[in-house]
């Protein structure tokens, strides 16, 4: 019998009962009491045959926040029951610490889909670049979920600047994987990354991939991407046009002025507003006339940001003339 105090004893005994109802009542009561000395029986309850008992035991352990429960909770990540896995993952997200890295990397070697998927998610909490060699093999996994989880994890690893094996995922057959890959590319500094993002921005059939590519290019702020962004300003999907205009706010270049002026009449107000901001950042006085025409725009945001852009350009001109 485990060493527990008198208040807990009847409930710990009830946890060994043959009827599920009794075990449910026992584990729920132990959760409610919230006594640290109940941790050992609760860890045993993680192996209960009933998934409801397991779930309540996980929640009870989570509330006790004792690091000794990390390893037993890891075992629940391979459970066939999705609710048990989800509860264990949520608990581990709070309990996991950098010292658990080696244990996570060991678990990643296990040939179990759920375990691998959940460990890839947990590695994002640790941010340690030592995990990189263990994450890379998942870029070539047969399962799209693992490829997607691995590429997301990559962008959470500190100090990782280049990762050539990740580049091939931009051509993945699954759109979700490509969407996450384009977002991760915003944080990589491989030579090919900018070119691959530009190609994805204009050629990918999925609009979310194109939008994410525009978003990532804003992080790179590379002037060689201007012609691609200019093309993306005429994309059929409004979100791609919006994020391209946003990226052009960070790379001021006069060659995009005509396309940005056209965007001032876009049917979506977000694009009109972002185009006005981008024109203000370029600072060319030739656009003042176009900006003034947007001062009676039906959208208040567009009017406010157009006025700010006009003020900005006029102030720059005044400073130059003085």
């Amino acid at each position: 019998m485990l060493n527990v105090n008198d208040e807990l004893k009847p409930w710990v005994e009830m946890l060994q009962s043959t009827t599920v109802e009794d075990r449910l009542v026992a584990v729920k009561t132990l959760q409610y009491i919230g006594d640290e000395s109940a941790i050992a029986p609760l860890i045993q309850a993680l192996k209960d045959e009933d998934t409801n008992v397991q779930k309540i035991a996980i929640t009870a352990i989570w509330e006790l926040t004792n690091p000794i429960a990390v390893k037993p909770l890891m075992g629940c990540l391979r459970s066939p029951d999705p609710e048990v896995r989800e509860e264990a993952l949520s608990a581990l997200k709070e309990l996991i610490a950098p010292a658990d890295l080696l244990m996570l990397l060991d678990a990643l070697q296990e040939d179990n889909f759920y375990m691998q998927l959940n460990v890839l998610i947990l590695l994002r909490k640790i941010h340690d670049a030592q995990a990189l060699p263990y994450v890379i093999p998942f870029f070539e996994s047969e399962k799209a979920e693992l490829r997607e989880a691995a590429i997301i994890t990559l962008r959470y690893l500190n100090q990782v600047e280049t990762c050539p094996p990740a580049l091939a995922l931009i051509d993945d057959e699954v759109a979700n994987v490509r969407r996450e890959t384009t977002l991760t590319f915003g944080y990589l500094k491989d030579e090919e990354v900018i070119e691959l993002l530009c190609e994805a921005l204009t050629d990918d059939p999925d609009w979310q991939v194109r939008r994410n590519a525009a978003q990532s290019l804003a992080l790179h702020q590379d002037s060689s991407t201007i012609s691609w962004l200019k093309k993306a300003l005429t994309d059929e999907h409004w979100q791609v046009r919006k994020f391209s205009a946003r990226t052009l706010q960070t790379i001021a270049d006069e060659s995009v002025i005509p396309t940005l002026i056209k965007c001032l009449t876009d049917e979506y107000s977000d694009i009109r507003r972002d185009a006005a901001i981008a024109l203000g950042n370029i600072g060319n006085p030739d656009v003042l006339n176009a900006l003034q025409q947007t001062l009676d725009d039906p959208d208040a945001d567009v009017r406010i940001f157009s006025q700010r852009a006009i003020d900005k350009i006029q102030q720059q001109q005044t400073a130059l003339n003085q």
């Binding site: 109802e21 009794d22 449910l24 009542v25 584990v27 729920k28 009561t29 409610y32 409801n52 309540i56």
Partner: protein, 75 residues
């Protein structure tokens, strides 16, 4: 607090087929103490027609036996 006369009208509905006789989770968490055990059946029920619709009873029930019906205007 007003005693409930028509149990079907109360906002906290307990599915007696799922309610566990030895369990007190919902009674323990209710801030208004409106839930009690029926001594005859051992099942929980809403004794007083008073509810804050705070939902811990529904959430804490280990067998999902409780349903709280939130009035339309509070949703």
């Amino acid at each position: 607090m007003a005693l409930t006369t028509q149990r079907v009208d109360v906002p906290v509905i307990v599915d007696e087929s799922k309610c566990l006789e030895k369990c007190n989770a919902c009674i323990e968490v209710c801030p208004l103490d409106v839930l009690v055990k029926n001594p005859e059946t051992g099942k929980a029920y809403m004794k007083y027609d008073e509810c804050w619709f705070c939902l811990p009873c529904e959430k804490e029930c280990p067998t999902n036996a409780i349903t709280v019906q939130i009035p339309f205007l509070l949703r």
